[in-house]
Amino acid sequence: MGINSRTVVVRIGGEAGEGTVTLGEVFTRIAARDGLEVYTFRTYPAEIKGGQVLFQTRLGIERVLSEGDAADVLVAMNLKGWEENLNDFHSQGVLIYDPDAVPNPETRGRQAYPIPVTKISKGFDFVRGKNLVMVGALTWIFRLRLETARAVVQKSMGRHAEVLAKNLQALEEGFSYAQEHFPETFSYTLPLPEKPAERLLLSGAEAMALGALEAGCRFFAGYPITPATTVMETMARYLPTFGGTLVQAEDEIASINMAIGASYGGMKAMTATSGPGLSLMIEGLSMASMAEIPVVVVNVQRASPSTGMPTKTSQGDLFLSLYGGHGDGPRFVLAPDSVKDCYYQMINAFSLAEHFQTPVIVLSDQAMASRVETIPYPETICGVWSECLERILPTPEELAQDYRRYRVTENGLSPMAIPGMPGGMYMAESLEHNEYGHPAQSPENHKVMMQKRARIVETARKHLVNWDSSVRRWGVANAKFGIMGWGSTRGAVREAMERLAAEGVEIEALYPHTMLPMPDQAVSEFLRGKKAILVPELNFTSQFARVIEHRYYKQLDARDIHIHMLAKEEGVPFKIEEIYQAARNMIQVEGGR
């Protein structure tokens, strides 16, 4: 058994143009099919095609929470794949490599399995298949089932019969070679379950698309942008099967305006983008706030500012999402914290957008969108994780006489007519307007309407108190030390906390899922009795920590709760170790232990 008996970090380094990513993906799929839990991570080279790539898959017997830190098993397909990963390779790890590409690696005592994949693949005249040879070898080494491997290759590479046959051969050659040369048990083998639990194997982007479909989204307009394109591509495939429509718009401004138009027309509508695109949507979002039109905007954050590093992760768009808009308009911001949560928060997003007639931004990030995870099969949705709220339509009576689209109500919500409804004819208006939607510019009217729109958010805030899913809290209840974070960093935080727990440290964490409105009650309760809070996040200015400080400064100061910011803007996720150390450090500084 390996160092960490429940999970194994397998890292593959090689040339992207030589099928390294396919190697990782196929191997991951085989492991998942055989019942292991998986969680992947990969890097993107600067070259459009080709270039050095790192594909990491972490396998586990229980749900895997993060991509893990150092590699337990390193699969080096070329020399760089060996050299570049040496510093991040567990001292008791295992090296699996192509001896023709990596001659005599200095493993410093680590176990090594040379698999001559180049030679083998050349042997049957299919050099392109060396990645599949390695898949075969890994299948044996990890004691996965050859049958499963065959099925996966068949499914994922079965386009051309001839190539498929070659690939299957490569797989088997690799398997046999490894079986023959390395019969001994492998220290990192994980036990396979008899009957694997029902699981989905999804990327975060796919989970968002499926969640949107489940929520009833039937319109998507979007413009390609890394790393959000997968959301669009998944919607493109499936929307029509549900009678929905996808438009690849000419840009992000068109995307948001099309989505708003479709929503005005009665469809649940969305778009998905990344930082530069969100910046372009700010004007449209402001219109949705003013005209009270539901719309969901997924923002898959990437390293910024400007074009930045499109394939690298970040959480740098929180401020833009919360505060980016001319004037004060209502808006919601959600932050799923895992691939699974991506699915549910999309359902929440549509509930909020539709019922409260307000734009909703859902913040994911490059790492969470592109990684693949096994997640439990979604079960009952409404009432458990999410609540399915619908748009408030006017009653026949309301339509029959003096229908006022923007009626000033106590809770701020006014029934919204859909074109085609007789009696409901109104004008959605981006100018300030009166109850009928007619432009109006008296000071009194502006004041009343600003208040009406602001009440929408307050109504939602009250409503959300009962939403389990608006916040996630775990760890040692009411511990003195806390961690507050948001979004995709949660996995690393959970693992760091498990390590701390194992060492007897009492610590508790809180991850809000609704960043706007903030679940104030839950946060306040969490803060009560805390001595210090670590706020890890992947941006430069500690945006979330500043939001917390700002919003809860009275409580923080009254109880002398210290905020420890842990900001990292390097394009890569947190390592578990970084969170662990920062927490340790906080506790020490605060005289905890």
Partner: protein
């Protein structure tokens, strides 16, 4: 149940200057609605921002007064969510050719089934008179005190180059003709573009000029002949009115509906299965 033009009038008094060309467009639209006997609840008029874009507010149909320059994507979204409704996009020359100029080619190439009525007054009316993309070279206004040096764009030529399936020019001084054009545009199963020469009496009054230089297209003009249309579009005197081009190819909402029919039907549960490990 014959409807009358005034049935389509809202109770909001137009804010336009007395004599503005947009009044004629308002009347022509209402007449076209009435003559086509369309139910108010089945019409949606979307717009951008500008004097001309105030139109939806003066109609008793469904409407959307959106943001500057984005009327075409907005109307596209509306049409796709309500394919059986009559969707009309209206706006000005600034709205549609300057800030919104990037959307025009795409609406045209999608052939989305909306009628796009551009009230072209060769000026920014709402912001009190600045040169627009159709202002003649040498236009002097406060923002161009030394005269503009840009060549004006020709909206008809653009529409033709964009492969717009219906392209016409009307004039606020020719009401009956405008009504007739609108009626065809509203029924066109694709993207129908109508440039209306709609003078701004306050900042660029061209009524007299257009009365003088406009003329109906030659009677023998073949509306399916793109090259002929392009040639006629380039003429400035006479400045032709009428239908330059009219052809039919499948519209966008029709085609997306066909895709929906073609796409394999799956339930959410079946879809999930595809992602089972």
């Amino acid at each position: 149940m014959a409807r009358k033009p005034n049935d389509y009038k809202s109770n909001v008094k137009p804010i336009w200057c007395p004599g503005c060309g947009d009044y004629a467009v308002h009347v022509a639209l209402m007449r076209a609605f009435a003559e086509l006997d369309l139910a108010q609840e089945n019409i949606i008029v979307a717009s951008g921002i500008g004097c001309s874009s105030r139109m939806p507010g003066f109609l008793s149909t469904y409407g959307f007064h959106g943001i500057h320059g984005r009327v075409l994507p907005l109307a596209t979204g509306i049409k796709l969510s309500q394919p059986d409704k009559t969707v009309i996009a209206v706006g000005g020359d600034g709205d549609g050719l300057s800030i919104g100029g990037g959307h025009f080619p795409h609406a045209a190439r999608r052939n989305i089934e909306i009628a796009y009525i551009m009230m072209d007054n060769s000026i920014y009316g709402m912001t009190k008179g600045q040169a627009s993309p159709t202002s003649p070279e040498g236009t002097k206004q406060a923002a161009s005190p030394y005269g503009t040096v840009e060549a004006p764009l020709n909206p008809i030529l653009l529409a033709l180059a964009y492969n717009t399936s219906f392209v016409a020019r009307a004039f606020s001084g020719e009401l009956k003709e405008m009504v007739d054009i609108f009626k065809i545009a509203l029924q066109h199963p694709g993207f129908a573009f109508v440039q209306v020469l709609s003078p701004c009496v306050s900042f660029a009054n061209t009524y007299d000029l257009f009365r003088e230089i406009t003329a109906p297209l030659p009677e023998n003009h073949d509306v399916t002949d793109i090259t002929a249309a392009m040639q006629l579009a380039q003429s400035q005197a006479p400045l032709y009115r009428g239908i330059f081009h009219h052809s039919v190819r499948p519209g966008y909402s029709l085609q997306t509906t066909e895709i929906q029919q073609r796409a394999p039907k799956v339930t959410m549960a079946e879809l999930m299965e595809r992602y089972e490990r």
